[in-house]
Symmetry: D2
Subunit: 362 residues, 4 copies
């Protein structure tokens, strides 16, 4: 159950303190230019330690391609990518060895698997998401060939909401802020929490432009359903919205419907998806991240022997996981859209005949 997607399927492996993490991307069509520098640049956007708004842990996150590429092009065979862990020095884990960290997955992994990798998050660490970003970078290269783009940014931090979104500005912001007018306040909220040994939540907003109408496989591999799974499955995510989301449930139909004209929809409350299928408009997804559970205040918890203890975490952690998280949201969105593009081929008999008799159109 460590795979995602159907026609374009990726699988990841690795633990935060093991030898390496990595992924296998299967289903990449042959003949795609695999720009390794671009893949690395996407990983660099996600990698930790770039500013005071992130964990101080440093990781080079150098990706190495082991297979599936020949002379710069994909061959149609699985692309394996590996990222060796360089910052897993033997440190002293004695203080957390037997203690479940509140808000973390170590409690549930222990109850499921009966085994405790006490060196950190292990498989449940957000470190795994680097592998998703590597896979997502290749998906983006594929989408680029079809003039589809996926961008994102932070729309909200600690309840401070942006309302004027500029995706170009977000690319340049150290916290990927979408609203330049709110960026200063959002940064301050992060640093204030950090000083108080606390953390804050935040929201990533993902925008997909250029996707054709018709993507999504009803009724049980719908575009919105799969995007929801992709995002909710990220560490710390507790809510996902498509288009107007929660707000839609508070409106009347006459306010929420998007009127249609010959050149498109007059509004986009639907966020580009109707009945689980893209309608040709921008696709909009909001992803809500809880505050980092790793805080340095004392908390109630128990040990693996169910003994109650009071416990204050040490170490280096992101004060707001949404920030680096938004890069991962983009990657997941790109992987979903690319999978849907491939799955959609074959929806009509006309398309199949065109595909297999393509010389006809010469």
């Amino acid at each position: 159950m460590n795979s995602f997607g159907i026609k374009l399927k990726f699988s990841t492996f690795g633990e935060s303190h093991g030898k390496a993490i990595g992924c296998l991307l299967d289903g990449v069509p042959a003949g795609l230019d695999i720009d390794e520098a671009y893949i690395q640049s996407e990983l660099d956007r996600r990698k930790p330690g770039k500013s005071e708004f992130e964990t101080a842990r440093k990781e080079a996150d150098k990706v190495e391609i082991l297979s599936g590429v020949f002379e710069g092009k994909s061959t149609g065979t699985p692309i394996a990518m590996v990222i060796y862990n360089t910052n897993q020095k033997s440190k002293d884990y004695s203080n957390i060895k037997d203690v479940f960290r509140p808000g973390h997955a170590d409690f549930t992994y222990f109850h499921k698997y009966g085994i405790r990798d006490y060196r950190g998050g292990g498989r449940s660490s957000a470190r795994e998401t680097a592998a998703r970003v590597a896979a997502g970078a290749i998906a983006k290269l594929l989408l680029r060939e079809l003039e589809i783009s996926v961008v994102s940014g932070i729309s909200e931090v600690a309840g401070i909401q942006g309302d004027n979104f500029d995706y170009e500005a977000a690319k340049k912001s150290i916290i990927y802020a979408l609203d330049a007018n709110k960026e200063a306040a959002q940064k301050e909220a992060i640093l204030t929490a950090k000083k108080a040994h606390d953390s804050v939540g935040g929201v990533s907003r993902v925008l997909i432009k250029g996707a054709p109408a018709g993507l999504g496989e009803p009724l049980y591999y719908k575009l919105d359903g799969v995007l929801a799974d992709a995002m909710m499955g990220l560490n710390a995510v507790k809510a996902v919205e498509i288009g107007d989301g929660v707000l839609s449930a508070r409106k009347h139909g006459s306010q929420n419907n998007d009127p249609i004209r010959a050149n498109g929809f007059e509004s986009n409350h639907a966020g580009g998806i109707l009945g689980g299928i893209s309608n040709g408009e921008d696709i909009v997804v909001n992803v809500y991240f809880k505050p980092t559970p790793s805080i340095f205040q004392e908390q109630h918890t128990v040990t693996t022997h169910n003994e109650e203890v009071d416990f204050a975490l040490k170490g280096r952690h992101d004060p707001c996981v949404a920030i680096r998280g938004t890069v991962v949201c983009e990657a997941m969105a790109a992987l979903v859209i690319a999978d849907m593009l491939l799955l959609n081929m074959g929806a009509t008999m006309g398309g199949i005949k065109r595909y297999y008799n393509h010389d006809e159109c010469v």
Copy 2:
């Protein structure tokens, strides 16, 4: 792509105006008592025409089991269930034959498949969800054997939010209202909108009690991710929350973490899921339904030939789809939990050895 689940997998078929709808439920363990009256009673909770808060369309929704049950018990083979459509009389479709209804899926289905079933929602109709409820009823019977229950109700209508939730009261409420103190206001909002030829949105809250810790298959078949997919894939749903959801993203870590004591968690902001795996607490999911797109006011739209027209829908429609929708949310939750229970078997070598050498423990 008309199937959901892995070990307990259901597939549905049928269109709103075809001969029948139905489902195939595969993976039901042998030896489960299949209480047909219970399955029918669940369908009756969802069926239309029970009050002025629902569409006036009447459907008997009588379920017939075609296979997989022998002498009242499941046999381990697929259970096929069929519900014949009884209310698809040949009516005059000329007014909607070529017109896309705003907020509906007919636009996207036409662009994907190049075919128009002009008789109504066709495959995208909410009528299909009756098949989900039939499958979900069997999942509930399975869960009951393990003392796990799934209940739900309406927490919010048209922005009128309940805050004191009583699931027993919801069962008796004609609009499945969770907060008896808000029920009157919520009803009034629905009827007011209805009179104005409009519709309202609403929110379903689902509660799963008794699920053991350890359910969920990380990292790409997580419990929260799959629940999000299951719910977002329902007609009209635009947002899904686990536990505190959106609110979590506006809190500090010290407010959002759930402290742990020897007998369980001191709070449940997480909604019973950590790292995609159940933690033994109540699992809480909120599902946000947009207002019914079928309204009787004039709207801008286009025809299948992309001609602009102004169009007012006629017919019978739910003024608030969340109400009957909450029964479907329950069904989906039950199906997800049952699938996760089956998938979880085999998580540990100890469990496998116990299973295959069970005489040991006599």
Copy 3:
């Protein structure tokens, strides 16, 4: 686990003595002409009771389409088909109620599921294959649009091997014999065994013509592997060959390689598949059916309580299951090829770009 295929996926349901059997065919592209008379004619080729070479059990095998077709064309939604059982009259099962029939699946089903449907083969009955034939008929309609055909016949009965194969003759033969010169001897072998209360084995040979090079998804959904699964999964099948099959293992490389010339291969020992991918030549599959296990001679067996008994079966059974089985082999082959055609779309970046920008080629 009652589904087969990935992009074109069918699921079947039903037991030999239940209300109905049927199938769900998912992934049929929209816009395919669904010729119901053709589907029925395929079922008629498989249905029992047509001659003394088959079981005397009569079944009308009337197929009814419940969904997925509108105005004679597929809509892209799942096609559900149901065949009601008409010949399951309440007969006296007391003699087989607790007795496992040698060579049958009732022993293994009982050990797996702990339940005994004593009325006959239940789910394991060859009756289920009617549902496969219905699905296969639609796959054949799809293939016909691409000028691909699937034919078959009986190449061998009771060790009497044909060597001059005529698929047109096979269509007209009551035992689907491929070699008209061997038909009389093969028929006699069947009737002789039948008179001796015994049964015979046989071999079906399937030929797929017109499949383009490139079908098959290496390395774990290869064309030959999936064909082998499809055929070996049929009741009574004990061996599957591609091309020269067993004989290949007894040859030298210089005898077995197929030399290549500009207009194709000079021989076809490979049976049209290299490395799990079609090479554009005829695809040839041989399917070996064991003799019907239902014989009327006394045999050693045990009851469900593990008591030893001597037991002679009564009833009506095919003396050679390969005969009607060959129709099912065709259906399975057609379903596999159609699935592979759909999966192959997306193999190259060029193909994807051509598909999504098809106006380019106008």
Copy 4:
């Protein structure tokens, strides 16, 4: 499509002349002892260059585990294993760069993917099977815990058939010969062909002992069907038999049925499988390998530009691929059985209740 299995699923990557090959094994239960020396010893059985009966190409085939194991035990997370290619020195490929090798997959890969990795078999090379052996070794460790074993050997070479099978002897034979009396003749056939610049076919026989009755998921993930897929999907395999296989089709029912007594079956023509489910007897699979297509005689072929040429291959190749292939057959069989064991959990309601309330039996 580079994955196999459902609950225990492995995915492989890598090309013969790329940086590395490897696999990802997902679904290994937590708590299994991962004996790395054993995994390496299995790889050593398959690795080339051990005798004159194999290719002279040398590969260390050193496996490295990157994830999923902690303190010697599986953790329940995916186990990634990598084998770096050490023998892909830059040699001169000019003579085969544009020429399709008869009997090889390069023709079909080129037609499917439009790309040619001219350095050798690439993804279609038998080298990939080393990754299967690594995964299979872990499956064998799992089976060992349940007292299930998988062994194999060569029953036939170049038409010289053994008839007295000794699996212990096969382990010690340099050609894994099952019949010591035929070994000398089989060896001579190989060397004679080799001297003639030719190759020979052979047959692997796989035996699974100790598997409980009840394995196999009917109707479309049957034990025999999946074994057939697993074996037919191996390079050079052209036929697969279960039990008596081809011979069954030439017998009468009275000869082929296995009579049942209180302590088991009186014969095992069925090869341990009835109706796609194991019956508790030994499971027997025969796998037919064609002669190595790489021969050094001149053959007709064409170039990628469809120019006819006569061509004699150079290099180092196995004269009989079945020999090393039998180790891979074992691995595949072990992976299939382990997957079926996991899938079978949940077949009965009783088993599920026992699993989730295991304290009951204390």
